[in-house]
Symmetry: C2
Subunit: 323 residues, 2 copies
């Protein structure tokens, strides 16, 4: 179980290694939202997403003799890049297992960050078997993307920063909107805020049609998504909330909010024009919720932008439609 002590220990291990991202704002966004909106831009984090925090926390938290053998992860996205760079900076090997049909740019980026990429055929090969074999042969430690206490602790360091920044700005109460896939980021932030800024409450944000977390929070038990494809916000689509993350979310978060792909694209363009940051669709769902779904929100909202690793073609499409 991740505790506030683990999050603070992660913060100490991450000191000088992660970006302390600022809190941005724009009067134009305040006006659209009808309330004060602050933005925590984790797209500016190393590797372009908050995942670097959890990756660094997990790798730096391993016993040195275990760490030295290297790590392995399954991911075609932001977790892969976070693990690859964190491993490289620790001077240890990393293996990322990816489907062979993953976008080439993601494969290239992950390699460029220093990882060995092992491709598998989704139709004929078993990812877990490949991972298990490599782990055993080479003594690699598996780092799960969200259901892993040290990863949750690392993501929670963003929550410590939010608590500090809110205090500096005199913010006592706020909704903290977090793009949510498996729930590692939202649960880490929620634990940090529970301890350091109890007037700030996390709200999970997801794409419409892939709102497993919102439905799980509403029903009180883990619900699954019926499909995993068809959202532009694919980076935050996961089958269901994690076994470790869901109890934390359930205890600490308000009701989840779901936004459409079009709302996410509009939020991306407002972030481009008004905040001068590059946001991926999944990373924009919390900003979209603040701008277009304010009915249940209070006077002050802190929205987290979780990542900026957007395909240029998708960005062009957003510019054509809403730029």
């Amino acid at each position: 179980m991740t505790s506030i002590a683990m999050i603070e220990a992660a913060r100490d291990r991450l000191a000088g290694r992660v970006q302390r991202t600022p809190l941005l704002s724009s009067p134009f966004l305040d006006e659209i939202a009808g309330r004060r909106v602050f933005i925590k831009p984790e797209c500016l984090q190393h590797t372009g997403s908050f995942k670097f925090r959890g990756a660094w926390s997990a790798i730096s938290g391993l016993p040195p003799e275990v760490r030295a053998k290297g790590v392995i992860a399954f991911s075609s996205g932001n977790h892969a890049q976070g693990i690859a760079l964190a491993a490289k900076l620790h001077g240890i090997p990393s293996v990322i297992v990816m489907p062979s049909d993953a976008p080439r740019i993601k494969i290239e980026n992950t390699r460029a960050y220093g990882a060995e990429v092992v491709l598998y055929d989704r139709a004929t090969e078993d990812r877990d078997a490949i991972g298990a074999r490599l782990s055993e042969e080479r003594g690699l430690t598996l780092v799960r993307p969200f259901d892993e206490p040290l990863v949750i602790a690392g993501q929670g360091t963003a929550g410590l920063e939010i608590a500090e920044q809110a205090r500096e700005m005199g913010i006592q109460e706020a909704d903290v909107l977090v793009p949510t896939g498996g729930g590692g980021f939202a649960s880490g932030i929620a634990l940090a805020l529970e301890a350091k800024a109890p007037g700030l409450r996390v709200r999970s944000c997801e794409p419409v049609g892939f709102d497993d977390v919102a439905r799980s929070l509403a029903s009180g038990s883990i619900e699954r998504n019926s499909s995993l494809s068809g959202s532009l916000c694919d980076a935050i689509v996961t089958p269901q909330p994690g076994n470790l993350t869901f109890p934390i979310l359930s205890r600490l978060c308000g009701a989840g909010i779901a936004v459409t792909d079009d709302e996410a694209l509009k939020a991306m363009m407002l972030a481009f024009n008004r905040l001068k940051i590059v946001v991926e669709p999944g990373g924009a769902v919390a900003l979209a919720a603040a701008l277009f779904h304010g009915q249940t929100l209070g006077d002050t909202v802190i929205t987290v932008v979780s990542g900026g690793n957007v395909d240029p073609e998708i960005f062009k499409m957003a510019m054509e439609r809403y730029g």
Copy 2:
């Protein structure tokens, strides 16, 4: 004359009002440049450029009874937006005098930040006469864009941040590359670094063909640009260095660097892909210099991105060419 004491006083007046922008980096950019490159993204500053610093400094530095009557500025760009928002947040009126053929989006943005926009016909009307009449009638104080000690002091607060951030990262020596128009930003930063980080040296960066500062530094006296139109980097094209700024630049800066429009567009796209920030062409010239003109640079470079207020059509063009 702007002194380090004035810059520190400006910092105190700006505390809690400006963004303390982070220092970003990417291993991909380090590799292209062949050296360590850190980026100070002033595109994330309020109103999308560093100009808000100087505007706040100038307005907050006026005697209260003078300030209350309001301020006036001539600008169609980033200075206008900085003045408009800083005036609004001080609760005082601002008048921005703009050519009637300025881009509509800039006029609208300046109005949205709370300014009264007075348009004039470049062909038939005299801007200075209009400004003088309005100043006299209403008691407005003119805030010049760069040749103004309080403005230079405000821009210098970015230099204080760079000095602090370099110290935190253990950087003792570096070239600090600054996009340069009239020289207010570069001279403010240079004064701050002289006092707080003497191993860091400013280098001015300009568009090829509009390198009045570089030529002035080389010749030792103020040189003019032969033309003022035809650069994509128009935000930083001015007739000549300022009478106040040039002596500071001349005393403290290394040789100037000039980059092509294409290099600026490439730097914009690398900033988009690798740093997840939105940069205007003129704001990208220092990054372009770091990436493509490293011949005279040392092991460590800090490049300032001065602004992000790019026309979406220009951004699309950059994506088509280099995205």
